[in-house]
């Protein structure tokens, strides 16, 4: 390449490189625009269809169905989707495993066990119907706390095992898989002793569902997520260094063990919070980062914000499909995300095998 052509003397940058960065920024912009449009569409469709102008009017005036019923749910989808995707992105990077995410690392199974434990042992499982289509678990609070507690226990055990094995990424992934199996087996055992109503409650809980989230829950998720997201964005160069190899990262001054532990703790914390409030929502943490990497590469300067946008988009679209596809029945959103994520999971496996 003739360097005289490529050097932009004003900023020492190469025009090609600026163009290349510009393309990535363009991708982020397009994702952001699509997300905004999707939010408006999601607010407009449902049992009562509204026009976009009606939606905008209701949101600005803070009244009507778009504001009071759909807006909180849409916000939940955006925040939860974004953070599940970011948790997956960071786990895949620090564990050096493309299949890592809260769902595959046993966190969701631990949360499901926690919910089953609360429903059967703590008797929080009396279901009743509050409307024609919805079922509510009587003591949601106990179920959520138990789910959260057990997902943290699972993460804690994985991290302790990891410390004992000097923070090897493989050990973390394998410990996560083992913890997931143990909690899945424990949940089966609990289900065996549950009565019909408790069993129905457990099954209902494992269907991830955004309608369970209250505004307070949403505030809680956001308050926890924002600092975590800022921390991840701040450390984007460290994640790029870890991608280049552990020895390379350490020789560049990166404390790999600390970033692995802190990254695992923070991404697990956010995922545990979301899963314990909503139930099991699989594959968003897998789907979003992989889609993003295929389009814009693995540079975490762009992958993290893009995963935020694409994760939000996936969960929002899934939830909108879930509540409109066989309206007036509302499907659990976890079913839709798993239908989307399952085939991708297989695709990644096949591609990995081919290599």
């Amino acid at each position: 390449m003739d360097t005289s052509k490529t050097v932009d003397t004003k900023n020492g940058d190469t025009p090609d490189y600026s163009q290349y960065i510009g393309k990535k920024v363009m991708f982020l912009t397009v994702c952001a625009v699509v997300l905004v449009i999707s939010v408006l569409v999601a607010l407009s469709i449902g049992s009562a269809n509204l026009s976009i102008s009606e939606v905008v009017d209701q949101i600005l005036n803070q009244n009507g169905i778009a504001w009071s019923i759909r807006f909180p749910r849409v916000l939940v989808a955006v925040v939860a989707g974004a953070m599940l995707a970011v948790a997956g992105t960071i786990m895949q990077c620090i564990l050096k495993n493309p299949l890592s995410e809260p769902y595959t690392l046993g966190l969701s199974q631990a949360a499901a066990f926690g919910a089953a434990f609360a429903i059967v042992i703590l008797d929080a499982g009396n279901m009743f119907s509050n409307t024609k289509d919805a079922v509510v678990i009587s003591n949601q609070y106990a179920v959520t706390l138990c789910a959260f507690f057990f997902s943290l226990i699972s993460t804690g055990v994985v991290l302790i095992l990891t410390r004992l094995t000097r923070v090897s990424p493989e050990a973390i992934v394998l410990s996560g898989v083992v913890m997931g199996s143990i909690f899945a087996a424990a949940r089966t055992a609990i289900q065996y002793f549950a009565n019909e109503i408790q069993l129905a409650s457990i099954v209902y809980w494992t269907f991830g569902d955004l309608s369970r989230i209250t505004l307070d829950n949403l505030v809680l998720i956001t308050v926890v997520s924002v600092p975590v997201l800022i921390y991840f964005i701040y450390n984007r160069w460290n994640y790029n260094a870890i991608d280049a190899g552990i020895d390379t990262a350490r020789s560049l001054g990166v404390n790999v063990s600390r970033h692995t532990i802190v990254g695992m703790v923070l991404s697990s914390l956010v995922a545990a919070l979301i899963v314990s409030l909503m139930g099991v929502i699989g594959f968003v943490g897998l789907l979003a980062p992989h889609m993003v990497r295929r389009v814009i590469g693995s540079d975490h300067r762009f992958v993290i914000p893009a995963a935020v946008l694409v994760g939000a988009l996936i969960l929002l679209i899934s939830d909108t499909l879930a509540r409109t596809i066989i309206s007036p029945l509302v499907l659990p959103v976890g079913v839709i995300t798993s239908f989307l994520g399952g085939p991708l999971f297989l695709l990644i496996l096949i591609r990995g095998y081919r290599k």
Binding site: M1, T6, N11, G12, D13, D247, G253, N255, S298
Partner: protein
């Protein structure tokens, strides 16, 4: 001397010493090759120098400053490391080299970081590849990218672990002559491990030969004798001269 190592000793978790009584001194613009059989501790010694492994005792001085008292980032500003293997992800050559500025980055890369990266990429002849993903380039090119990444760290000492091990004959010599150019034209010292003694003889100024975890012989070309090689590698060899260059021939 640019790099001075005195009495360095290393062991894994209170086990027996893997390296002991290591002494080394290398000046600026010099290349030193660490020779020895597999498992003798060559890579371990490189990792001790840049603090990837913590030594039990000894001093490691770069320009008179003790590295063992510095934090990781300060060490990274002084020592560049090219590992034998690197993980490849879908990141461009330019960004991969730019990553070498990591010890100097606070929030984000500056224009100066980009300029330094561009200069190094240009000097190593990688400009045409700069927007290619590193998982799409050849092994020889990847090795140069790793060298470039270490160079943009602006280190005082460059450590290279088997820099030519995965390269073909042409790329081996290309890589080594690039390295010689870089070392001779900047205030840099290079220390590398290598199995190919002939390649080391051709490009290196100094050698240390490790045996049993300690320095068996150290010095210039004069230490590469049939006796020393046989003692270290347990293999009888002869040294023949070809076009005024010593060549090691196993017997």
């Amino acid at each position: 001397m640019k790099l001075k190592i005195r009495d360095v000793e290393f062991c894994y978790k209170n086990g027996p010493a893997v390296l002991e009584d290591i002494q080394m001194a290398v000046g600026a613009n010099q290349m030193l090759t660490i020779l020895g059989p597999n498992g003798v501790g060559k890579t371990t010694l490189l990792k001790c120098i840049n603090g990837l492994l913590k030594t039990r005792k000894g001093t490691i001085l770069v320009d008179g400053e003790e590295l063992r008292k510095m934090n990781r980032v300060e060490v990274a500003k002084r020592i560049g490391y090219v590992p034998q293997r690197a993980d490849v992800s879908q990141i461009t050559v330019f960004d991969s080299v730019l990553l070498g500025r990591k010890p100097h980055i606070t929030w984000d890369v500056s224009k100066n970081d980009i300029k330094i990266t561009k200069d190094v990429i240009s000097n190593l002849g990688l400009s045409e590849l700069s927007l290619k993903y590193i998982n799409e380039i050849s092994g020889g090119e990847l090795q140069k990218v790793q060298l470039a990444r270490a160079l943009v760290q602006e280190p005082k000492v460059l450590l290279l672990d088997e820099p030519t091990s995965s390269l073909d004959l042409c790329n081996q010599h290309h890589m080594m002559s690039t390295l010689v150019d870089v070392v001779k034209n900047s205030d840099l010292t290079a220390i590398m491990t290598m199995h190919d003694i002939n390649l080391a003889l051709r490009y290196s100024d100094k050698f240390i030969m490790l045996k049993g975890g300690t320095v068996f012989a150290a010095g210039g070309h004069e230490v590469i004798t049939p006796e020393n090689i046989e003692a270290v590698y347990d293999l009888p060899v002869n040294v023949v001269n070809f076009m005024d260059r010593p060549i090691i021939v196993p017997l």
